[in-house]
Structures are given as C-alpha cells and as structure tokens.
Symmetry: D2
Subunit: 358 residues, 4 copies
Amino acid sequence: MSVMKKLEVGILGATGMVGQRLASLLENHPWFDLRWLGASDRSSGKKYAEACNWRLGDAMPAGARSLLVNDCVPDGKAPQLLFASLDSKVAGEVEGAFARSGHAVVSNSSYYRMERDVPLVIPEVNPGHLALVRAQRRERGWSGMIVTNPNCTTVGLVMSLAPLDRTFGLAKVMMTSMQAVSGAGYPGVPTLDILGNVIPYIGGEEEKVEAETRKLLGSLDADSSHDGHVKSGEFAVSAHCNRVLVEDGHTETVSVALRSKATPGEVLAAWQEFQAPSEVRSLPSAPRRPIVIRGEADRPQPKFDVNTEHGMAAVVGRLRPCPVLDYKYVVLSHNTIRGAAGAALLNAELMKAGGYLD
Amino acid sequence: MSVMKKLEVGILGATGMVGQRLASLLENHPWFDLRWLGASDRSSGKKYAEACNWRLGDAMPAGARSLLVNDCVPDGKAPQLLFASLDSKVAGEVEGAFARSGHAVVSNSSYYRMERDVPLVIPEVNPGHLALVRAQRRERGWSGMIVTNPNCTTVGLVMSLAPLDRTFGLAKVMMTSMQAVSGAGYPGVPTLDILGNVIPYIGGEEEKVEAETRKLLGSLDADSSHDGHVKSGEFAVSAHCNRVLVEDGHTETVSVALRSKATPGEVLAAWQEFQAPSEVRSLPSAPRRPIVIRGEADRPQPKFDVNTEHGMAAVVGRLRPCPVLDYKYVVLSHNTIRGAAGAALLNAELMKAGGYLD
Amino acid sequence: MSVMKKLEVGILGATGMVGQRLASLLENHPWFDLRWLGASDRSSGKKYAEACNWRLGDAMPAGARSLLVNDCVPDGKAPQLLFASLDSKVAGEVEGAFARSGHAVVSNSSYYRMERDVPLVIPEVNPGHLALVRAQRRERGWSGMIVTNPNCTTVGLVMSLAPLDRTFGLAKVMMTSMQAVSGAGYPGVPTLDILGNVIPYIGGEEEKVEAETRKLLGSLDADSSHDGHVKSGEFAVSAHCNRVLVEDGHTETVSVALRSKATPGEVLAAWQEFQAPSEVRSLPSAPRRPIVIRGEADRPQPKFDVNTEHGMAAVVGRLRPCPVLDYKYVVLSHNTIRGAAGAALLNAELMKAGGYLD
Amino acid sequence: MSVMKKLEVGILGATGMVGQRLASLLENHPWFDLRWLGASDRSSGKKYAEACNWRLGDAMPAGARSLLVNDCVPDGKAPQLLFASLDSKVAGEVEGAFARSGHAVVSNSSYYRMERDVPLVIPEVNPGHLALVRAQRRERGWSGMIVTNPNCTTVGLVMSLAPLDRTFGLAKVMMTSMQAVSGAGYPGVPTLDILGNVIPYIGGEEEKVEAETRKLLGSLDADSSHDGHVKSGEFAVSAHCNRVLVEDGHTETVSVALRSKATPGEVLAAWQEFQAPSEVRSLPSAPRRPIVIRGEADRPQPKFDVNTEHGMAAVVGRLRPCPVLDYKYVVLSHNTIRGAAGAALLNAELMKAGGYLD
C-alpha cells in the first residue's frame, strides 16, 4: 500500500489522555494522516500545543502541535474517519451527530458499545462483527457509522479468553482487576485518594466488563431480514474492579471453568497458537503476537511487561489449576494503548482494509 | 483481674516488623509484662534500642528500649510465655526447642500451622481448636506447647467467611488479595520492585490461604483415643495473591457460593450479628466488633479503614450478587496487627483465660 | 477557664482539606464550639456529612455531621469568630465582607497576609504583631478584623529561624522545600503528575515564603500616629519549592548565615531553649515544645516525625556547618496542621486570650 | 572507525544495577564488545541470565545472557578494558589488583575518585584531566590504570556549572538534591522506608558532591617533575542530599554566586552555547546537546525529562535571580545513565579515542 494516498483522519476529544495517545500513535502512521482535532469549547480555536496539557513521556508529535482545535460539531470540515475519545456524558450526542452526517466514528466511549446494531470489536477476536454496521446504517438512516472498542479492562481479559473459548468452550469467568490510574484520564485520580491505598470500586466498570466480554465472544447470527445481530456468549462473567497505584497497565487475576477438559499444556498451546486472521495480522498496528506468555513465576508485571508488542499484546502468565473453577492465571494489558487508543486505531485499520471506508 | 500480678512474657524474633508490633502492643498490656527479647546472633547482647531498626510510626516503648536482646535458645531464663515471630527458615527448630523446654510458644510462623496436632486459632472463630494442645503435648512429649495464628492474608478472609459458613454453609470461595508491603517484613520489598507496579505472586501464599482457611473453619472431632483432630471444612478455596504499593492493610475481593439460599439482607445480618463467644469478647485485645460493615460504594480502603477497632477488625463492604458464584464482596484487615502481632496476642490472652498457662 | 461558656465559631471553606482539619481539631475544643459552616454554592443547603468528601483518616466529628452548610455571605447568622480556609480567588472578597460586618476572621488564605495593616502571626514567634488590628479596624472602618497565619511552607522555616534570629541575628537564609501533596488541597495534585516524579515548581510559593519570613521576623514599630506597622527583618531569603510524593509534611533543607558567631552547641541550645511567651504556652493548642530536635543522622522524616506534638511542632535535625553560609539543617512541619488549620486555631486562641474577641 | 575490530571489554560488578545498565548500553556498541563479566562469589560460575536479577525495563541483551560470570580476580583472562561498578567496600582492592595487572579500569566507584593521581572525568567538562594517568602509572608502578567518573549527584550539577564557571567564574554553589531510589542499587531502598516519605540523608553523599565538584572544575597544573595534578576549583560548595520516591533521575535545586556580573540572558546563552570539545562530541555515547534548557515554568521533571539525549544530558530550567546568591535554577540528570553507566562508557570512549588503550 506504500503508494496510496493517506486517508485524512481526525480526533474527537483530542486533548484527553486517550486523545493524546491517539495523536502519538498516528504520528507517521502508514495509512492515516492526522489533520483535524476536536475538543471542548475551552480548547476550541487554540492550537493543539496550547490547548493540550500533554502528559505522555514522548514529546507531542510535531505535526499535531500547530493543528487548530475545533468544536465537536459536524460542520462539513472534519474528515470522514474520526477517532472518538470523548467523555461518556457527551459521547452519545456528539458521536451520533457525526455518524448521522456521514462520518465513520471509531469510538472508545462506552455509550454505544452495547447497542444491538453497533459493532464492538477486537480485530484479533471478532472481526466479523463489523458487519453489524450494515444494519446500523439502514435502521438508523445514518450515512456514516459508529464502531466501538471495548473498555480498557475488558480487552486484555477477552484476548486471553478467546483462544480458550474457541478450543475448550467457556463456562464461567471470574476476574479481579488492579487498574492503573491513567484509565481514569487526566486529572483523574487525586493523589490523596490513591497514595498508599487501594480503591476497590470503579463506577460502572464491573457491569461493562461483564456485558462486553459476553458480546465480544458472542456469535453473529446473520439472517436475511436484518443483517444479523450478536448473540452473547453463553457463559457467566463476574468482575471485581480495583484501582491501584500504577501509571499504565491493568493487571487481572482470572479463574475460568471450561466446557471441555484441558491439560495445562493444552491451555498454553491454545494461547501460543492463537493468531488473528491473516487480514488482521497484516494491519499496521496489529501486534505480531496478540498473546505473549511469560514463563517466570512472578510475571506479567506492569513495570516490565506493559509495553510488550508496543503495548498491543495481552501478556499472560502463572497458569495453574484453580481449586474452584478449572484454571487460574494473570493477564496484563496496556490500558491506554491496547485498551483505548491502540484498540480504536486497529479497528479503523480493519475498517479500511475491509472496505468500510470506501 | 485488676489486682493479679502480670505474667512475664518474651518475644522470639523481637527486631523484625512483627516483633516490633508485638512490643508496641504489649506496652501497658493489662495481663502481660514484656521482660525478655530474643533475636538473631547479630542483635544478641545489645540493648533493644540499639539492636532494632524501629520502623513503626509510634516511638519504641520506653520499657523495651533497655531490655537486652538474647539468643533464641532455651537457657532457662526466658519466661514461660513466648510470642514467636521468627523467619520461617528457623521457626521450626527454635519454636520446637522452646516448646520442648516447657515454654508456651504463641507463633506467627507458618511452620507448624498445618501440623495435625497444632492449633491454628482465630479466637472469634474457632477458640475450641486450642484443645489440640493436649494431643500435641502427649504425642510429642513436650512440657510446653505451640499455638499458631493464621497467615496475614487468611485472617481477614476467614473472619468474613465464618458467619457465612455457620449460617448458610460454604461451598466455594474465590479470593484475590492486594497485599501491603509490610507483610514482607523489613527490609522486605525493594522500592524498585513495587513503585508503580503490581507483583502478581507471593511465594507460598496462595497454598497457605487455601489450606489454612479450611482448617480454621473445620470442626474438631474429639474422640477418646487421641483428643481429637481438626477435620477441614468441606468447601473449595482458590486464592490469587498480589503485592501492591500499600504500607499496611490487605484488601481482598471475595466471591462465595453458599450451601443454602440467602438474600443480601440475610448475609449482611449474618455479618452484623456475628460475635465472638463471651469468653473471647472479654479478652483485652478483642475488638468490640470483629466484623465492621462499611456502607459506602467504595469502601473498605486501607487508607481509611485499616485501623478500625485498633486494627483488630475485618472490615467488609460492597456486598453484591456474583454472576458466577452467589455473592461477592471486599474485605480488609490490618496485616501486621490482626494478621500477625495482634492475632498472636489475642491467642495468648485466650490461652491465659482458658487456663492453658497455669 | 473550665466553667466559661464556649465561644461559638464557624468555618468559611469548611469542605476543603484545611476546613476538614479545622473541623477535626475543633472537636472537643475547650474554648470553641463549632456551630456554623460555610462553603461554596455547590455545598450550601446540604448537611456537612453530605456536602463534604471527607478525606482524613479519622472519622468526621459527630457534631459537625449534621450541621447545615451555608453560603459564604454575612447574613447575620454566622458567629463572631470565623476560621477561613477559602480558595485565594475568593478569599479577598469574602473575608473582607465578613470583617466589615463585624466578624473576626482568622484566615489561612494568602490574600491579606502581606497587607500593611494585617497581622501575620505565629504565636510562639511574633504574638505582639496582633496589635496591628487596631490600625486595621480604624483605617478600614471595619467593626471586625482579619488575622492571618503564614503559608504552610513558611511556618516550619520561621519557627526554626526565630531562635537563631533572636540569639545570633540572621543575615541570609536559603531554603529548599519538598512539599506534601495535601498542601495543594483536594482534589489537588493528579496522581499522573506526581507518581514517581518531583515537580520543581509551585506557583507563587517561593515569593510567599520569601516575603512572609521577613514579615514574621520583622519588628513592630509602634508610633503615636498610626498604631505601628511591621518592619520586615533585614536579611535575605531565597526559596526553592518542590512537590514530592508525600501525603502530609513539608521537609525543608535550610542554610543560614548568622550575624554573630555561633558554635554548633550554641545553635542547638538556642533551639532547645526556645519557648513561647508564657501567655502562649498556656493556649490549648500550643505545643509543649515548639521546636523538637531529632538527634539521628537521617531525621526528621515525614513518616516518623510529622505528628510530633500533635503536628504542631517544627522538628529539626542534621545541624552541621555549611561551606557556603554558616550552618545547614533540616526542618519538618505538618503542612495542614501547623501549616494551616492548627496555625489558625492557635491564632484564634491567642486572640481570645488577648481580649481581641471581647 | 567502521571497519575497526571492536575492543573486547568486561564488567566488574556485572549483576548490580549499574552493571546491568552497562550491559544494556554496551549492546550493539560500535567500538566495544562485551565479552567478560565479573561479580561476587555468589554469582560466579553461573550464566549471566541466571546470576542476575535483571531489573531494567528492556530485556537483558541476548549477547550477555549466556556469558559466564567470573570471580573478580585478575587471572589473565579478563579483557584489557574493564568497567567497574563494584560496591565501594571491595572496589579499592579489586580495582587496584586489576590496574596493577595491566587492566584499564573505568570505575564508577568512589574509592579512588579523590586520589591525587586518579583522573575524575566528565568528558564534556575536563577531558584533559585524563593525563593524570601518566603520573598514576609511574608512581604506583601499575601497568594498567584507573579512571573514574563522578558520583551520580555530582555529574548533573557540574555539567550545569561548567559553562557558568568558564564564562563568569564561580564563587559559591548551594545545592539540594532530590535523588531517585535507583541510586542506591538493588535491593537498595526498602519500600517501607520511602513510601510517602522523604529521607533527608544519604551517607557520605554530601561530602562527595562537595569535593568532586571542586576537583572536576579544577585545573590541571602540569609541571616537569610529576606530570601535574589537579588544583581544585576555588569556590565553596554546599550540598543537602535527600532521597525521594522517584525511580530514575536526580533533581537538584541550585543557587550560585558568580565572580563577574551576568544577566539572565547571558547565563542562558552560556548554557545554550556550551559544547564539548570536538574530539568528545564525536564519541559514540556523547549527547548531541550536553545541556538542554526547558522553558516551561515547572520543568525539568524526572517523569518527562530524564531520558533527554538518551539519558546523557543535564536538563536545566527555572533560571531566576536568587535573593541570597546571584541565580537559582533546577537541574536534572539520569542517575544510572549520565550518573554512572553512561558516564563510565563515555570515559572509556574518550580513553580509546585519546590513545590511552593502545
């Protein structure tokens, strides 16, 4: 694709933590060219370098610095493809308005994720769910579309579960998360709340993880009349969500019950052999290995493993029998890359490769 | 008991973190008088104030400062009652030698906990298990005895489970811990290992929690021939243990399956009404309320709740249905007080009140 | 004073961090009775227990829980004596309005501190500066008054400097602070800004420390025409202010040049012998020892020393010769107690004892 | 130099934090080939991958993994050029033994730094001091040599001072450090010591900074009889050293008095224009800009700036007048790269380029 003209793209919610990650990941992207930024009234009209309190370790991409920040309203100037990392309070209205106006909105917000006609996609896991957009456009009369990625806590869990579900069938999933503060955005978690502390509650998070996991591992039942919908996976999911003093990387302890017997070696093999479909593997942001297994007794750890595969892998370890369900293990993923900005970017690449943006 | 002469006591392993907590808790104790300290060669012969790198926020008790530190060998000078907070590598030998020589050793070490004839006791939960010492002394030919308290991660879990087990019967228990660094002693966890990190592994911890929980909630089957032994509780326990950047307080997420149906109100009532037997309630270190329920959505938290009831309570919260088992909740307890020094002290008080030290 | 009726008091800015500390310190106060709370529109009309996101480790005082929160406008119902811990953006207007309406406002805000006719007072150091209120009331035509305490970073520094200034004379002062996050209020410092980081800048702080230090150690020049004003101390002060990952307690490294020669023993003696005037020593919140000297090589430290004298002392240590000025040392003080709420409370006690509230 | 054969090198103290950084920096080095590792008895005989508890975020270099770890004794098999990052307790003896046996020891230890005939070198600042090795070899009768780099706290300070000293002359320097935990090695600082705390003392550190700064900025007085020695800079230095909860990066507040007047613009220009001599600029590990100026009000910060120029720059900011001396500013440098491993590596490159290893 080296000679193709890059597709112009924009970011709705460009000044937030996920918006910053998106701007960073889009620097030098082979397919996409960041040309438009949208944010709240407070930022609109300023240059990105002035409007944005840049919080990433790497410097703000030079190309983005001088872009003007626009209001988040479809005025005909924004590019067709828009990444959206808006606060969930405004996401419903803003994303809907842009989709109605013909934009393809690749959203990181929770607002539309569980809608019957909105694809919730992890390209390595359920790329076919993208097909839901046909029903979405017809039923809603939208010339554009909305495609979503899961919550940052869901994504690592589901990537580690997908090969187990395919190979052995899932019956039950129990998950406890220890989530990084960057998941709450910026300014996000006050230091006084989390220094030397654990907060055993994140509003709405457990419900999202439980519902999204089942939709992502559900099956697309196509029928002639309505282009199909997703039938949720038939297994139970229980989530306990906690905030801990980590900057990036959600660590999750997981116990699973499987439908068919599996030895530890078979479980490891299922992870080892897990691959995305070939059309996904060739996407620019796809990790070479979606699942990386650490063999050490005390890994994965955020400090050492969060950037595995440029932050796009689910890193698993500590597989062992579970006295209550069948197996237990630990999974780690980067919450603002694999769990947000990178997830949206990979979805957009899948849409482009699949002809959804033509 | 106000006019009785105080019982002289000592500490084996006095310079460690738990030894320091013991020294602190024994200051002005109504029944016990700290008169003897034992530690490793490196400390022996020095005054406690010199030998000990005191790490607690409160100052070293004046009475302890000038005590000489002795070797941990039974030379006839140590008091009958000894608290033991030794490294598990030496605990087996040292505690055994003192018990053989007639000392009552109240141990915080894991070495003897799961021995068939050694009581593993939480006074509010299974005070009757103390009776195992009769078999222990006869079978081992010891003039003294060893009584143990559980691992710091077990104790909060079991206190929260005990009323559920009694009222509804336990079938399955799933627990994920987020453990404080003080649980690893001093110097313990290097800053470079845990700053901005989670360590999803603590050697041997999960096995201890799984086995101890079932022993503590087991039943003492007395019979004429051998003074009984403990039949472990007939439920499955699965533990995931993690280290997080907290100083004091182990936070645990718990899911349970119960043998008989219970409404949320009935579960809360079981916790609310849980009381120690009256002979335990009157012990000097017994918490007024062994279980304290927090009603806020985001509690308990180590920062706010770890010192509830002087660090002797199990603080529970967030009770809600579990899609996989029956209920899920959060429990917090102070790992070096309720989980170690305070646990041993309460056991010693129970032994004293029960006539085991006469 | 045991049988006197307690004086009713209120707090302007009751829901902030310093307001919470004030409410906590006023619980069971022997002279003052907390009966009135004021805060922003958002809180007004609610009970304190609902309006306030209580962040202190100890529980909210029972007496304060059910108090209604009022608007911060003088409507005739607030008590005469008001503690003010308002955001500096509104402090000027609100405090002025209350003082004009006859209230004695004991303020923690920086707004009026450097005004020529406003006392800036540390009772142990310059209680006589209170006399400025006479000029203040006459010149401004206020029936009430405003009395201020210094910035949280100034107070420990000045307490440690006062005996050196009196005994040897100060010529130069160089100070670098490592300040706790609670000094920025709540929500205050975002975790993402300070985790694993140092922020070498706190807006306006250095200027405050440099100016306030000289006013506090200045002399009151009374003359017949205008009731005097304060002549700033004739020494140079340079401050470097930094934020570090500490909850409570500002640690400061200090170098000083003295006007007359002093041996290390003489400097230590000056600190050791420093006492408040006797009328200050008997105030309920006065620390027994305003300056506490730690002899260990590595103290004071926030973790161990911040609560010395209930958080009302300046804790000094590490006195040694300075190759550039004369001596260098470390001083620590509790920024929300000695540096804010406790400072205001002690000022109010001084005002009460001095007849300023009659 | 692209076709030259790489020089074989080794590391004494290869398993420590600085040894790990050295191994990491030597991976793919254009001039040096890591072929030999030495460490304590405990590690010797094992492969590096087994002997070393690797603590860096990047993976252990493949080439180093299978190298065997040797004892730190000169047995004729170690390469001529050895990097030494030994504990100062053994550095004197071990480094001396290797130098005597003909090895060029590039040492990060403090043991020999202040010896009259041992070069203490920052290549950008005082490359000419290397010439001291001639006297060293003759006087000590060594066939090898020892060259040292400064303490991790000294290096950033001196890099920021060097242009000021050259341009305006230094009269007085006051520095307060806020030092990262990695400076204490591994396991190093216990979490219980530093969580939520500041430790205002690091043993021996202040003396090192004060003496090394003056030696580094001193002048080499060559004379015919003894090949010269270094005359320390004639200015006073006072250091206050503190440990804070940062992983990598020492932040320092600095005040300076200059011998000749300078405007702020002139000071900034002195930093901006500062360059290493051309023979240093072309060394593989030399930073493009030895001093990087940040213009923001709140920078440099470890989180954002520590890796500037691959961790080899001194990052300065916040230049402003000092009411006590002339100017004050903040400087940050990476303590295990610029302050240790990178410093030694750059010294070795300077030695190689200068013909000292032929």
